[in-house]
């Protein structure tokens, strides 16, 4: 099949529509353009493809191992022996980091939301009068009066896990102490039973409950997450709102 040489240039050229030649039909033609109805059959191509894929995916791919190395981000002592794991770790925990409070987020979008809700004083003011807590699902335009309401929406409409957290410190296992400290530890607890001042509920996509860190840091694989890293593990707060608690929360 010989294609005209100019065709390749056309593909690379600008988008555009041809100026149509004049259409003039004779009733004697009796023909209408033949536009095929939607076809639903024909998975054969798909099956062939899947067969090919399966012969490749059947076994675990050999992952290249390298000598053990540590994440170089300050304060992080995660150790790796495969580049893939490190890449994943870096992107999950170090990429989208809040410059105010050093919390890390899985995406730029969530980081932006965090900054808005936690470090923007105007947000707090507006939140008193209108629904400011935006649904975290991109494409969903719902807004809520409180972070708790938003969480409720995320769980019931978008079926987020009920125990997800957005920006809250991880639950500590210590007992709650009475008095003014209750508020602080309730926040630290991240429990959703005690609402706190205008803070965002945590969207943490890490659900594994890790045991609290012992004081002596060891270099190991896997689970240790240093305290400066979110998700929620005791990160310092750069801005603490002194606003009164919202009645609805």
């Amino acid at each position: 099949m010989q294609l005209p040489p100019a065709l390749h240039a056309r593909l690379a050229g600008a988008p555009g529509e041809a100026e149509p030649l004049p259409v003039e039909r004779d009733p004697a033609a009796g023909t209408t353009p033949f536009r095929f109805a939607a076809r639903q059959d024909g998975d054969v191509q798909r099956h062939l493809y899947l067969q090919d894929v399966l012969t490749q995916v059947a076994g675990d791919p050999e992952r290249p191992r390298v000598p053990e190395f540590t994440c170089q981000v300050a304060g992080c002592c995660q150790v790796f022996d495969a580049l893939e794991d490190f890449e994943h770790h870096y992107h999950t925990l170090h990429r989208n980091v809040c410059s105010f409070c050093k919390r890390a987020f899985p995406s730029g979008h969530l980081l932006d939301t965090h900054i808005l809700e936690w470090h923007d004083s105007l947000f707090q003011i507006l939140a008193e009068r209108q629904d400011m807590y935006q649904c975290l699902v991109e494409g969903c335009t719902e807004k809520f009066r409180t972070s708790r309401d938003r969480k409720e929406h995320l769980v019931t409409r978008h079926l987020y896990p009920a125990d997800f957290r957005f920006d809250k410190p991880r639950k500590s296992k210590g007992p709650a102490t009475p008095g003014p400290a209750v508020q602080v530890s309730a926040e630290a607890l991240g429990g959703d039973q005690v609402p706190s001042e205008g803070d965002a509920m945590e969207v943490c996509f890490e659900h594994t409950e890790l045991p609290p860190e012992p004081s002596g840091e060891r270099r190991t694989y896997g689970h240790r997450i240093p305290s400066t890293i979110c998700f929620g593990q005791g990160a310092s707060r750069g801005f603490k709102s002194t606003k009164k608690r919202n009645k609805h929360q």
Partner: protein
């Protein structure tokens, strides 16, 4: 993007010709199996499971055991231990009873989702495989239980779209595959597809099909098939069109053609093929929607580069994967049917002759080629003039010699249009012994009337 896919190709241990031969054999076997209704895509995959092939039998796990595995996966201290727990779970999930037990167990899907979104790459992968298994289920309850997880996961994964890395991509691909399985369920059009369409999923899917440096072939293929199943269900294609499906898929087609142009290695014959098929299908099927005419300019497909891309792909298919020729021609037909502009493009880009060169490939292809030319000719004299003289008449006389009734029938249609709109066509036809060519079909039931009508026109003007 394309080079990543290369790594996943199996090495060419045999010649390209042998590959093609094997492929043809497999295709034939699949068609046969399909005819015999033995073919369900999910079952086919199960049978391919190497673990099964080695005589492994899926163990039925009870709720307690499932819970234990999940807990271990979530909270185990050793990474290997956690991974193993998920592998055990996955194997159990190959059995339908385990699947039922799994979804009965409260919080199980949620835990699985948590593992899918954990920061441990290997756990993510194993969890994704568990989701795969669940998506194989033929029981609608299981499929429905999985569906909400999909939405959440896509949200999570879409949030990373600017910096996808390997484990994410694999999970995303697994997700796409699982979703494509769900969408093929019997109840999909009633239960699953409406909720998919009501969620942000379609927009996410289209985003994953955007061409560009970040397009991942494996991921795109899975979600292109998802889109295909949704479109075929015809639940709400208008919605997809308003989300810009036509322009996204059109641009992707351009991208595919561009990649094909750059590729020289014969071993890369698989490049783009897997993606080309669902993309062509989706476009073709969407173009049949009445909704297309109703949407705004930007949403429609008007770019003549699409035609250029399609022909570059057709040429590629002719050499590497002839079974995709009908797919491409189908799209060409739907593009030209109601668009004087696209018809004009075919003429001005000198594509009629290359198109006619496809006439000898097969009967199916020939019918499609002739139908496309009919679409052009029926637009009137201005179009027929540009089709004439050229190779059209000789080609038509050739096709009139075919024994296939459909091919001949479509040739007669085209002849009629040429006789009507192109002065001199009758004359030329007669000079080339056209009447003899017609005579051959005088007694064929489906062709009789048209043959006679043409004979009359030719003889009496």
């Amino acid at each position: 993007m394309w080079s990543r896919r290369q790594r996943r190709l199996r090495p060419l241990s045999c010649g390209v010709e042998e590959l093609r031969c094997r492929r043809r054999e497999r295709e034939a076997a699949l068609r046969k199996a399909r005819r015999e209704q033995q073919l369900v895509s999910k079952r086919l995959l199960r049978d391919e499971d190497p673990e099964k092939a080695e005589g492994y039998v899926a163990v039925i796990l009870g709720e307690a055991e499932i819970q234990q595995f999940l807990r271990l996966a979530q909270r185990g201290t050793e990474e290997k231990e956690r991974e193993k727990a998920l592998v055990s779970l996955r194997r159990g999930l190959q059995h339908p009873e385990t699947q039922q037990a799994f979804i009965r167990l409260e919080g199980s899907i949620r835990t699985l989702v948590g593992l899918l979104t954990s920061n441990q790459a290997l756990l993510q992968l194993e969890a994704a495989r568990c989701l795969h298994e669940l998506s194989h289920s033929e029981q609608s309850t299981v499929a429905e239980a999985c569906l909400p997880a999909t939405s959440y996961l896509l949200t999570y994964l879409s949030g990373h779209s600017s910096d996808f890395i390997s484990p994410h991509l694999t999970v995303l691909e697994a997700l796409g595959y699982a979703l494509s399985q769900l969408l093929q369920a019997k109840e999909a059009p009633e239960k699953i597809i409406p909720s998919v369409l009501g969620s942000p999923l379609p927009q996410h899917m289209l985003q994953l099909l955007q061409p560009g440096p970040k397009l991942n072939l494996g991921v795109a293929v899975e979600f292109a098939w998802c889109l295909h199943y949704i479109i075929c269900s015809q639940v709400n294609n208008a919605l997809l069109i308003t989300h810009g499906a036509l322009s996204t898929l059109g641009l992707l087609l351009l991208d595919l053609a561009g990649a094909v142009q750059r590729t020289e290695d014969a071993g890369l014959e698989l490049v783009g093929e897997e993606l080309a098929c669902p993309v062509l299908r989706c476009l073709s099927n969407l173009l049949t929607e009445a909704a297309v005419e109703a949407v705004g300019e930007q949403m429609q497909l008007r770019d003549e580069r699409v035609v250029a891309a399609l022909f570059i792909l057709l040429q590629f298919f002719l050499q590497k994967q002839p079974s995709l020729l009908p797919e491409g021609l189908w799209l060409l037909n739907n593009l030209t049917a109601n668009s004087p502009s696209f018809c004009t493009s075919l003429l001005s880009l000198d594509l009629i002759e290359p198109l006619l060169q496809l006439l000898s490939v097969s009967n199916v292809v020939s019918v499609l080629v002739l139908t496309v030319v009919c679409n052009i000719a029926e637009k009137g004299p201005a179009y027929c003039q540009r089709l004439w003289p050229g190779p059209l008449l000789p080609s038509l006389l050739d096709t009139l010699a075919f024994s296939d009734t459909e091919v001949v029938g479509q040739s007669l249609e085209l002849l009629q249009l040429l006789f009507l709109y192109q002065p001199g066509a009758v004359q030329a036809f007669l000079q080339q012994s056209g009447l003899q060519a017609l005579q051959r079909h005088e007694e064929v039931a489906q062709l009789q009337d048209r043959v006679r009508a043409l004979q009359q026109t030719a003889q009496h003007g």
